[in-house]
């Protein structure tokens, strides 16, 4: 079992608590993505696992062995740094071999074979004798991954390895990484602040906010049944609309109202017991549609044609919301639209804690125990 387990991991820098009680369990062979906004403590978590920082409290286990105080070189991890950290005076090949003999016990022949193999996988055979300054960003990144590959570690740790690439190359490298993982099946923890990258790459995705893990779930479940308001707003592009409203129950029926607007909730009995009547209603932009005489009316403030859809922002009641309309819809700033929401895709959150109270489509995403190695097809297509 070569997974990673952290128990109540805490890291404080002077007065900043960068990591605040993280319990993470990366299963053997799993590709787990850690995602969150800038400064939420992703890199710090990764560095704690690598041993580059020592935790203020808590424990780290790699392959069932407590490595909390072990030195980085004793943990059998390979890290891909955000800025690649290639040695600028060495060729790509030297970058991959330097330290290999200290870190592993391969013979000279084995080293040559491994370099050739990694170079083949990453398609950098022709670049091996160049120094990093003669490589493009994407090529440097592949060399950096190659350096991690040849070490054949128990665990890969990757810190935003694609963040410096242009959009197109990023998509391409994303696919290559997914393929690579499908082939090698090495336990991987991958950090990114890009939620699209997280959704496409991860067998499971851990959403982090303010030093704490908000939710760990397979991508679709994260999208369908976010456990907190933060996850709902963070996952999806754009994220979920959240509106503060009043919950009114009448027997088996219930609806949420704000201003002149009201949405009724199917099977209201499923709403978790809740004190008070102020709640946060969540509905995704893509689950709102235009409908004559719909229950919501939105005054349009901004339209953003995205090509495959027309993202429209406006005010509903006095809350900003976004709706994803079909492309080429005839909508202008100042128009008042009538909207309705898919009743199967409504969510309620606690107004104080942000915890989820209700998902109208509770049938979806109950497969939390999905096997670790999900189909990688999803990300390569």
């Amino acid at each position: 079992m070569t997974g990673i387990t952290t128990t109540d991991l805490v890291k404080r820098f002077d007065d900043v608590t960068a990591v605040d009680g993280v319990d993470l369990n990366v299963r053997e062979g799993e590709f787990l993505v850690l995602v969150g906004p800038s400064g939420c403590g992703k890199s710090t978590t990764l560095r704690l696992l690598a041993g580059l920082e020592s935790p203020t409290a808590g424990a780290v286990e790699i392959a069932d062995e407590d490595v909390t105080t072990a030195s980085p070189s004793d943990r059998d991890v390979a890290m891909v740094f955000q800025n690649y950290a290639l040695y600028p005076h060495m060729t790509a090949r030297e970058n991959m071999t330097f330290g290999l003999k200290t870190a592993t016990d391969f013979s000279a022949d084995a080293v040559d074979d491994r370099i050739a193999e990694a170079a083949g996988i990453l398609d950098i055979e022709d670049l091996l004798d160049r120094t990093p300054s003669a490589l493009s960003g994407g090529e440097q990144q592949r060399v950096a991954i190659g350096r991690a590959l040849v070490r054949d570690p128990e665990v890969f740790l990757m810190d935003e390895p694609l963040s410096n690439l242009d959009a197109k190359l990023r998509v391409q490298m994303r696919a290559e990484l997914a393929e690579l993982h499908a082939e090698l099946q090495t336990t991987t923890l991958y950090v990114t602040h890009d939620q699209v990258e997280a959704m496409t790459l991860g067998d499971r995705v851990a959403v982090m906010y303010d030093g704490e893990i908000q939710q760990i779930a397979p991508p679709q479940q994260l999208y369908d049944a976010p456990e907190t308001r933060f996850v709902a707003e963070f996952i999806g592009s754009p994220g979920m609309n959240t509106v503060e409203g009043t919950l009114k129950r009448r027997g088996d029926a219930a609806h949420v109202t704000w201003g002149e607007n009201s949405l009724s909730l199917p099977s209201a009995g499923a709403v978790k017991p809740y004190a008070g009547d102020r709640v946060v209603l969540g509905v995704r932009p893509e689950d709102l549609t235009q409908e004559m005489g719909g229950p919501l009316s939105m005054e349009v403030t901004v339209t953003e044609p995205l090509g495959d859809s027309l993202l429209t922002r406006g005010v509903v009641g006095d809350t900003e919301m976004e709706v994803s309309l079909p492309p080429r819809s005839a909508v202008d700033v100042g128009d008042v639209l009538s909207l309705t929401a898919d009743p199967q895709r409504l969510h309620l959150f606690d107004i104080e804690t942000g915890a989820a109270l209700y998902h109208s489509a509770e049938t979806v995403g109950s497969d939390a125990a999905e096997p670790p190695v999900a189909d990688t097809q999803r990300s390569t297509t």
Binding site: A50, G51, L52, S71, P72, S73, D74, V77, A78, M79, F81, N83, A85, Y87, P88, H89, F98, G99, L100, T102, A103
Partner: protein
């Protein structure tokens, strides 16, 4: 260049702007240098008021003088020792300073203060600290190692004392530059080394030194020039070229010929030789390092 060619209607304007600088350079740099070159072909009397053209006689006299040739040899050996010594010690100190985490500032000040000391003061202080009969260093060296130290009369000891003093004086300068270069090495390279468990020594040799190489080349050149010219004050204060000419470096011999024996022509010729030697060395160093230094 083409774009800027027509900024001024004539080049006269440009030269006018350059004039103050040109005047200063010519008056204080080229004129004295040319004058030195001219003097080296003359024999001078009465502080240079009377001169007689002698062609290359000064040079032939020097190059056939055993004393002078010995001085050249000594100087080259001295420079080699001082450059290697001050770079090696400076690098060791700078790397330790870089690695230490507590009390960095205090160590840094301790490491660079000799450089802040005027050479004349440093020379005087060292003279007393290492004085053969009353010096505290000498006392303990003799007590601990049971050697007889008398660098006022034993040639190689005098040479060693001056070389050590010159190295000591230069360490601070090297440490400042080396520390700046070390701090420029990205922290993530350090972390990559830690992940691989690369030993300190190997990290220094394989990662830091190559990345510091532009600074190291600069320091080799500066230290070479320092070793050839900057040791004058130390020699003058501590050994006056002795014992038995063991510290009679070229710069000191030059000074003696010029100001003790009033032989300006001969001194000028030595100046020219010294210049050619240092310029040649610097050129070779830069050419060699171009090939190996990583910029």
């Amino acid at each position: 260049m083409g774009v800027h060619e027509n900024t001024y209607d004539s080049t006269v304007g440009a030269y006018l702007l350059l004039l103050p600088t040109l005047v200063a350079i010519v008056a204080f740099l080229y004129y004295p240098s040319l004058q030195t070159l001219r003097f080296s072909f003359f024999q001078t009397f009465l502080f240079g008021q009377n001169t007689r053209f002698v062609g290359l006689a000064n040079f032939t006299e020097l190059l056939s003088s055993q004393v002078y040739l010995t001085s050249v040899g000594l100087t080259i050996a001295f420079a080699a020792i001082v450059v290697v010594g001050s770079l090696a010690v400076g690098l060791a100190v700078a790397f330790l300073l870089y690695e230490v985490s507590d009390g960095k500032a205090a160590y840094l000040i301790a490491a660079i203060w000799p450089y802040a000391l005027p050479t004349a003061v440093a020379g005087t202080v060292l003279l007393f600290l290492a004085h053969p009969s009353v010096g505290i260093y000498t006392h303990y060296m003799e007590a601990w190692f049971g050697v007889e130290l008398d660098w006022f009369t034993v040639g190689w000891q005098g040479f060693a004392v001056v070389a050590v003093a010159a190295i000591w004086k230069q360490i601070g300068y090297n440490v400042i530059f080396m520390l700046a270069a070390l701090n420029n090495v990205p922290e993530s390279l350090n972390e990559a080394c830690r992940l691989d468990g690369i030993e300190t020594w190997r990290r220094l040799v394989r990662v830091y030194i190559p990345l510091m190489s532009p600074t190291l080349v600069f320091l080799v050149v500066i230290n070479t020039i320092y070793a050839f010219f900057g040791s004058f004050a130390l020699i003058d204060l501590m050994t006056q070229g002795g014992p038995t000419n063991a510290t009679n470096l070229m710069i000191y011999q030059l000074y003696r010929d010029a100001f003790q024996f009033n032989n300006l022509g001969l001194a000028s010729a030595q100046s020219v030789i010294l210049f050619v030697l240092v310029a040649g060395l610097t050129f070779v160093q830069l050419r060699v390092s171009d090939r190996y230094a990583h910029y």
